[in-house]
Symmetry: C2
Subunit: 338 residues, 2 copies
């Protein structure tokens, strides 16, 4: 069994390399960073817990390493910031400190390279289950971070990518169908989501978005957060929402594309609002990711969904909610183990 020091050395070796503005990285009591002139720092922390967010027997270690960092970095994308540094607090069973950890670090290092992140600190502990906590620090030009609170009536509501793909993947995993060749492509987003960094920065750099959030908990929940923070309402059109493509055989298992797209979490797409006058400037794709207008911000409060026949009905938050008993759909993950 490795000592903590050997473990830290092993982790450190995977994330070496110089990093601008970093005076002291791993190996001291704390990291020391020198801010660049005219910048602001953006910081977020994210827990990724065995049997809540993932299952050791189902999710390969490498995919978990990638996803852990992608999830946390998505919050940096949602501010329109550039990822810079991260800290890893990792608690794990002794029998995971070998091969499992190697795989996890492979995925984590691949994500860090891709997102432009340097590991600058952390904490390791022995624990009966795997507990990952990531803190990610990003940078923006002063005053350019895009908040949830800036949406105004008349603004156009947009989303990136296709919604519901991660939820579909999760449900196939829950049914043990993720190893089935026919559906293998459908589970990719659940295993390897991608933070929309290029799009977030594009919007922030051009001051194009009035409000932004990532769809980590599901559109119905996350759009509600923008509305509450901005003191506005929203109207979205079912027919405009870019939805996950669900083969008929899978739809017959009870997987409805609209419901997946509206309430499904973990897509890590961006949902943002654009002042009406600027909406025309928005290209159909940014950095290869499609951008779709799905509705508009309204005065008042609450989110309304307009169906194909033009009927409007209130859309209640139906996404991921760790402390709600009646709808903890990710609770089913745990059921797989029992």
């Amino acid at each position: 069994m490795a000592t903590e020091e050997q473990l830290i050395d092993r982790i450190q070796r995977r994330f070496s390399g110089p990093s601008t503005g970093l005076r002291v990285g791993i190996g001291d009591d704390a990291a020391v960073m020198t801010p660049q002139k005219g910048t602001e720092w953006v910081v977020t922390t994210d827990a990724f817990l065995e049997n809540v967010h993932f299952l050791r027997k189902v999710h390969p270690a490498k995919a978990l390493g990638y996803k852990a960092l992608a999830r946390a970095t998505s919050d940096i994308a949602a501010m329109g910031a550039r990822p810079r540094y991260f800290l890893l607090a990792l608690a794990l069973p002794a029998n995971c400190a070998g091969t499992w950890l190697d795989g996890f670090l492979d995925g984590l290092a691949a994500a860090a390279r891709r997102f432009g992140l340097s590991l600058i600190g952390g904490d390791t502990t022995k624990y009966p289950s795997i507990v990952v906590n990531l803190t990610v620090i990003g940078e923006t030009r002063r005053g350019r971070a895009v908040l949830r609170s800036g949406a105004r009536p008349g603004d156009v509501i947009c989303v990136s990518g296709r919604l519901g793909e991660a939820e579909l993947g999760l449900r196939l995993v829950q049914r043990g169908l993720h190893k089935d060749r026919r559906w293998k492509q459908l589970v990719g987003k659940h295993f390897s989501p991608e933070p929309r960094l290029a799009l977030g920065q594009w919007l922030a750099d051009r001051r194009c978005a009035s409000a932004m959030i990532d769809t980590s908990d599901g559109l119905s929940t996350d759009l509600g957060h923008i509305c509450k923070a901005s003191g506005v309402g929203a109207k979205i059109f079912a027919g405009k929402i870019p939805m996950v493509k669900v083969p008929p055989e899978v739809q017959r298992m009870g997987m409805d594309p609209l419901q997946l797209a509206i309430d499904g979490g973990e897509d890590y797409e961006l949902s943002f609002t654009v002042p009406k006058g600027m909406a025309g400037r928005l290209p159909p794709r940014v950095g290869g990711v499609p951008v779709t207008a799905i509705g508009e911000i309204t005065p008042g409060e609450g989110v309304v969904l307009v169906d194909a026949r033009g009927r409007a009905k209130p859309l209640r938050p139906g996404g991921w909610e760790p402390f709600r008993r009646h709808r903890a759909h990710r609770g089913k993950l745990k059921a797989l183990l029992d």
Copy 2:
């Protein structure tokens, strides 16, 4: 059962109040901070886990809230920095979201006020055990952070406070003696350690310390970290170490003050080195905390302990080591539950 949003509101209300340099706090995807001119940021992350670091049945929730933040902030003290912001990732069982959480937040808020910290973000999840992860951000004047790597041969080695007090408290807790009136005073440091912020800043402001670390893992381990990082050795004198006072009845239970002082963790005192020419300027107390010279930095490597008779012997790291099997003394905490 509360929703996550209600829970976040409850947490947020406990930590309200303006904070310099904070553009966006809790409630967005990430917090946004504006660095002050001429400063550097110092950041650390720390896991605090049920059944590893504490027991729900033994440790009162309020004490845990205080200790969780004190532990993490001690790393900021060890850099000589001023605490500014923190993020709380909290996973807990549904039955802890009521009274237990109120107590925990009481302690956390008391610590935050005392240390000058504003809560700027976090994450909450339902989980079978209590998992706390704190990220603390501090500020120093540019170039003033005190690292582990600056010790030079001839430097005087100093420590704050008395060593071994927290370990004595832990051992009394392990024996169920912490409720005994006679020993109640002896367990205080285990329940409520105090990061040495005033001393750390005093040393950094005067460029008085060449290297510094907090004694979170025990002197034998932590002084070893300074030596390794600085490429030097150390000689300390048993007779000079400020030791926990252990009543004879408790000593007879097998608790040796020297061993507690050398290998006992969680004191969160500062261990630092001072260039010989500056050692005379060091007052006996800083901010009410005693400072004691216990030895000196030597060329070469390794830490040597000189006993009362002048005999020198190598001092091996014997402190807290989560991944070492043969000496996981905090593992005993768990045994209390079984």
